[in-house]
Amino acid sequence: MPSDILDAPAVSAAPPGEPDRAAPRIVPRRRTGQWASAAVLLVLLALALVSVVRNPAFQWDVVADYFLTSAVLRGLGLTLWLTAVVMALGFALGTLLAVLRLSANPVLRGIGWGYVWLFRSMPILVQLLFWFNIGALYPVVLGVKTVDLLSPVAVAVIGLTLHEAAYAAEVVRGGVLSVDKGQLEAAQALGLGAGRRLRRIVLPQAMRSIVPPAGNMLIGTLKGTSIVSVIAVQDLLYSVQLVYHRTYQVIPLLLVATLWYVLVTSVLSVGQRHVERHYARGTAGAR
């Protein structure tokens, strides 16, 4: 069979019915279907766009009026702050949990597994309501009333972080497992300590497989924080809700929030590309 493969180019070098030695011109196949379907989709998209812009019920003037009001911006600020804090704390706790799950000690492994199992099983909404009502279970902690101790924002941070950490733990664990075992052995053979091996050798290489799902989680968290509106934390969504409860301009105000979410998500996606390129250095895909 190898001889067939070797023969093939010799045959095609002189195509039948083409006597001259000059290379024949290559004409690509016409892709009529692709052109037609693209044209149809573009037309449909344009129609949809026109209807969205021209339908007065969208009340774009109201959207413009509220887009930069201080109430909305304050809500946006809280959403961004909450996202950043929850991601940072969630990944810190998640990395710790991943280390537990990868430990040689079966008890530590079990605890790591149990945490991930529990907090992935609980709906985030239930968890938020649970922490919000924790005072019913523990009215007083260390001589302080629990209700005074935990503001709605604190409840939001705790609930979202514990939830995030369970997912982050799996992302980090997957990343660590993706690193070749030989890397760890080489580090051990060079006498590098456990902390240094993790920080300097394993995690930087694990980052390549951690960053894409982490970017996903970041964007998910940004929008996911909107759930804290149920416990009256004044994030972006709750801020516009406060306005439309007063003015009944539900759709344009939801559009205000949506546009902000889209805007921030777009910025984060660009950021993710840069981070991915940074951690791809030294690999085949690096430029």
Partner: protein
Amino acid sequence: MSAMVEIRSVHKSFGSVEVLRGIDLEVAAGRVTVVLGPSGSGKSTLLRTINHLEKVDRGWISVDGALVGYRKSGDRLYELREREILKQRTGIGFVFQNFNLFPHLTVLENLVEAPLAVQRRPRKEAEATARRLLTRVGLAEKADAYPRQLSGGQQQRVAIARALALEPKLLLFDEPTSALDPELVGEVLDVIKDLAHQGTTMIVVTHEIGFAREVADTVVFMDGGRIVEQGPPAQVLDHPRHERTRSFLSKVL
């Protein structure tokens, strides 16, 4: 000549498979020992026990007079703390079959990582040493390249330089040329030969019989977790006493 490495009745099992069944071996300082044997004969495992990458089940190993991985007290061996084991390993360079260079670090960073972190040498000094070592393996101009940008042979030469950066008293090579394209084997063997001529103590697990003949002071032939025979290359390779050695050599030569 004093023994740099002393291995006494070492046993090791993975689950129910006994891979080392009582190994006794002495390696003199400044000598080159080449370990030959078929796959699964336990030669790589033996090499890995010498720097405690694998723990022995029975017996003991000493390097330069110090027990590897254990402390003797009375008639017992107590396993050392991780920190102490890591310190012992810095005296033993290990070169892997698959190089195991750190792909996210440049060649120079690969070389200075351990001297900086483990021996706490000043960066300037560590980098100077690293560049000297790179010159020695013929890769001075590759200091800022990433491992992936080098050929397999170049990567293995960097790995050898990295092992040398800690100035070990013993070098262990685990099939250093087995992952290389045939035309790249020579450049790596040349570097190892060069080290041998400078009196570095080393143990080399390999399939390169020609290399063994040329460089080894002692050739050790292993099979089934035991040392079948050992001696100078002229004896073991040309006049093997054991049938098992003869049949192995007849297949690989």
